[in-house]
């Protein structure tokens, strides 16, 4: 454990940025706002890098395998047995998270300078964005679960602020509200989980929990499973899994860089991070892990089916995000924690790139988002096209791009891991095929073929400025080479990524005895790898067939299965179902019972009653003041008599 006073600045720089921009934003020139905001995040990234290198060096020189850097700011609260410090930790896991979050955030900040250039609330945007980065960095570097929850809630808040950034549009404001409310439902479960953890383990510190969990909890016991599932409920809200994913597609109402940052690369990954952080706890509850894996796999394939037919470029990417997050949960659910984080990292690269690329397209087409009104942009937007292609290849899992390595590891582990199952693998494979298909559908419809854009729009089509294309290229490079840190042994690599995180994982370092299970040879793994590549190529080929070779095929298929098509297009009517069975009843109960009955009649009634009582008492007392002096004197004399009587008796 190394005390490192600079850790606090990783988290605090963006907060400072947000504060300065909020207070002075309308008085300082725009360029300064953009530079300041990006600068604070860049500084955080550099500090995070410094911390990572310091940690690496320390361990390399013989330090403890589980060494970490720590920095305590102050004691937040000390009540009875509970003591919560504002304290940051940079260990193997959080260093990876800090680098990913700060790095991708920096790139997106720079991109935003260009994207939001014409907006009238330029400084408010950057203030919110910096605030978000602050909360997210707080979330990943907190050393205890309560502080992490502060960050958790904070990113939810910033998500609301940024989704509803253009709040004058009612629909956009409603989207922001929806995100926050759905999130809060999950947070309810999360909070209960925290309470149970403290109650039964006596600590809220992550290292303390990892230590206590194997002793204080019964493996597979009801308590362990309950805690794990409650925390997972929070994760389904934050990371958009079934059943609380409904806010994410609506969140596309926010500015595109926001979608890139929050709803692709960072905030939505918080749930995955949380489970990996508490991996020892989860390993004590195999039933809960099974639930996580199943939900993840189902969400992956479910969201992929919806993404197949969406026509808004951002909606496709939104469902893609939900689907890829499902993969991450599948990974952690079967105990492949490092695979989950690996995919988190590669996904943040290529998904952010996809969103920023979409933003570039939207920007070029003066606001058009419907892919049916696009096409033929390959030559007009070359940088956007090639970077988008790189990201699409990555997400489809085509080697040797990063997405292949991370997704493939998940697929393999979902089959081969002790808690894996061939069914999970099949579902994940199906999702992979669909992913490849709908992503290439998106690519082809947007960039290839004839130009379907409106005449007026076509005239203004232009490649984005350098401040937007350089981030695209940066992310593209990362999407292509990012897999190098995690090349599996089956292909001759050392899987450095896995070994970096292994000392913190309960099923790797011996904290929780492994559940046994079969051991497969490299040959089997290789075979599975070929299968997944083949599946991905199938998806790509089918997309090419439907959208380049024979453009009418897709519409023909839609016409031949109208019910299925409508079902997918309308996202299985889940929003409508939730509305009927949850939203409207709650609104009715709130209006007629909580408001009209309880608030108006009970509470207001109580207050009014007090008022009426005082008035009544006053009226009675006023009868004493008749104005007649004789009555007063009678009262006086009565008093004297009573006193005398009391004295005599």
């Amino acid at each position: 454990m190394l005390e490192s006073e600079f850790l606090r600045w990783i988290v605090l720089f963006p907060l400072l940025g947000a504060a300065v921009i909020a207070l002075l934003g309308n008085r300082i020139p725009r360029s300064l706002v953009g530079v300041l905001a990006s600068g604070t995040v860049g500084a955080s990234f550099l500090l995070g890098l410094a911390g990572f290198l310091k940690l690496k060096a320390f361990i390399g020189q013989g330090g403890s395998e589980t060494a970490f850097l720590t920095d305590t700011l102050y004691r937040w609260m000390a009540v009875g047995r509970l003591s919560v410090d504002v304290s940051f930790v940079l260990d193997r896991l959080s260093s990876v998270m800090v680098l990913v979050v700060a790095g991708v955030s920096f790139v997106i900040h720079v991109y935003s300078i260009g994207y939001m250039a014409g907006d009238k609330s330029y400084w408010r945007y950057f203030s919110y964005l910096n605030l978000f980065v602050f909360f997210m960095l707080l979330l990943v570097s907190a050393d205890n679960i309560v502080l992490m929850f502060v960050g958790w809630e904070g990113v939810g808040l910033c998500s609301y602020l940024l989704i509803g950034f253009w709040f004058e549009d009612l629909e956009k404001a409603k989207a922001g509200k929806k995100a926050f409310i759905v999130n809060r439902i999950g947070d309810f479960g999360f909070l209960l989980g925290i309470i149970l953890i403290f109650w039964h383990l006596g600590t809220i510190n992550f290292y303390g929990i990892a230590e206590q969990a194997p002793q204080a909890l019964e493996r597979g016991g009801a308590l362990s499973v309950t805690i794990a599932l409650l925390l997972f409920l929070g994760a389904t809200g934050k990371s958009a899994q079934i059943p609380l994913y409904v806010w994410l597609p609506d969140a596309m109402a926010g500015p595109t860089p926001v979608s890139a940052l929050i709803h692709a690369a960072t905030m939505v990954t918080a749930g995955v991070y949380m489970i990996v952080r508490l991996n020892v706890l989860y390993l004590m509850a195999p039933a809960a892990m099974a639930v996580v894996a199943v939900v993840g796999a189902l969400t992956a394939v479910y969201a992929a089916t919806i993404g197949l037919v969406q026509n808004d470029i951002k909606k496709v990417l939104a469902y893609s995000t939900i689907s890829q997050l499902g993969y991450m949960f599948l990974a952690v659910g079967v105990g492949a924690f490092s695979a989950g984080i690996f995919h988190l990292m590669t996904h943040s690269f290529f998904k952010a790139l996809l969103f920023l690329g979409a933003g570039s397209v939207i920007h070029a087409l003066s606001g058009e988002q419907d892919i049916r009104q696009m096409g033929g942009l390959r030559l007009r937007l070359p940088v956007t096209y090639w970077t988008f292609l790189a990201a699409t290849l990555a997400i489809a899992g085509i080697p040797p791009l990063s997405g292949f390595f991370s997704k493939d590891e998940i697929l393999w582990r979902s089959f081969a891991s002790p808690q894996g199952h061939w069914l999970l693998w099949m579902v994940a494979l199906a999702a992979a095929v669909l992913t490849a298909f709908y992503m290439f559908r998106l690519l082809f419809l947007t960039f290839s073929g004839p130009c379907r854009t409106d005449q007026k729009v076509t005239q203004h089509v232009h490649e984005s400025p350098r401040v937007m294309t350089v981030p695209l290229v940066t992310l593209a490079v990362l999407s292509i080479i990012g897999g190098a840190v995690g090349i599996p042994e089956a292909l001759g690599g050392g899987n450095g990524f896995h070994h970096w995180l292994a000392p913190l994982l309960g099923n790797e370092n011996g904290a929780v005895p492994a559940a046994g299970g079969q051991h497969y040879s490299h040959a089997v793994e290789y075979a599975f790898m070929l299968l997944s590549v083949a599946a991905a190529l199938c998806g790509v080929f089918t997309a090419w067939l439907f959208y380049v070779e024979k453009p009418g095929k897709a519409a023909e298929l839609a016409n031949r299965a109208p019910i299925s098509y409508q079902l997918l297009l309308n996202k299985y009517y889940v929003d409508e179902i939730y509305n009927i069975f949850l939203v409207q009843p709650i609104k009715l109960i709130s209006t007629y019972i909580l408001w009209k009955l309880f608030d108006v009649r009970a509470i207001d009634g109580l207050v009014n009653l007090t008022g009426r009582m005082v008035r009544g008492l006053g009226r009675v007392a006023a009868r004493l003041q008749t104005g007649y002096a004789q009555v007063y004197s009678i009262t006086f004399i009565l008093g004297v008599v009573l006193v005398l009587a009391a004295l005599i008796w």
């Binding site: 006023a622 003041q625 008749t626 104005g627 007649y628 002096a629 004789q630 004197s633 009678i634 004399i637």
Partner: protein, 100 residues
């Protein structure tokens, strides 16, 4: 000889008469007379005890009370004159300006 007991009884009777007069009469001047009556009843008690105990303190106190009564009567009558000048009445029921 007139005993203490008798004097006290007379004094009590006088006091009660004063109270009764104060409560029942409507004319404010008569009410004032009743007040004086009550004060004198008290005086009588003082003097009775002075005679019974053979001390001068009580007699001096009775003089005090008389002086006080005089002063109070002066002020009170001044107020009555002022009220009469504005209301043209000495009926206490008509000097009530409370609304209810």
């Amino acid at each position: 000889m007139i005993g203490l007991h008798e004097l006290l009884v007379v004094s009590a009777v006088l006091f009660v008469l004063g109270v009764a007069g104060f409560i029942t009469r409507r004319n404010i001047l008569i009410m004032f007379m009743s007040i004086e009556l009550m004060l004198n009843a008290a005086n009588l008690v003082f003097v009775a005890f002075a005679r019974h105990l053979g001390r001068m303190d009580a007699q001096v106190f009775a003089l005090f009370v008389m002086a006080l009564a005089a002063a109070e009567a002066a002020v009170g009558l001044a107020i009555i004159v002022a009220v009469f000048r504005s209301r043209q009445t000495v009926n206490i029921d008509e000097m009530n300006i409370l609304k209810w």
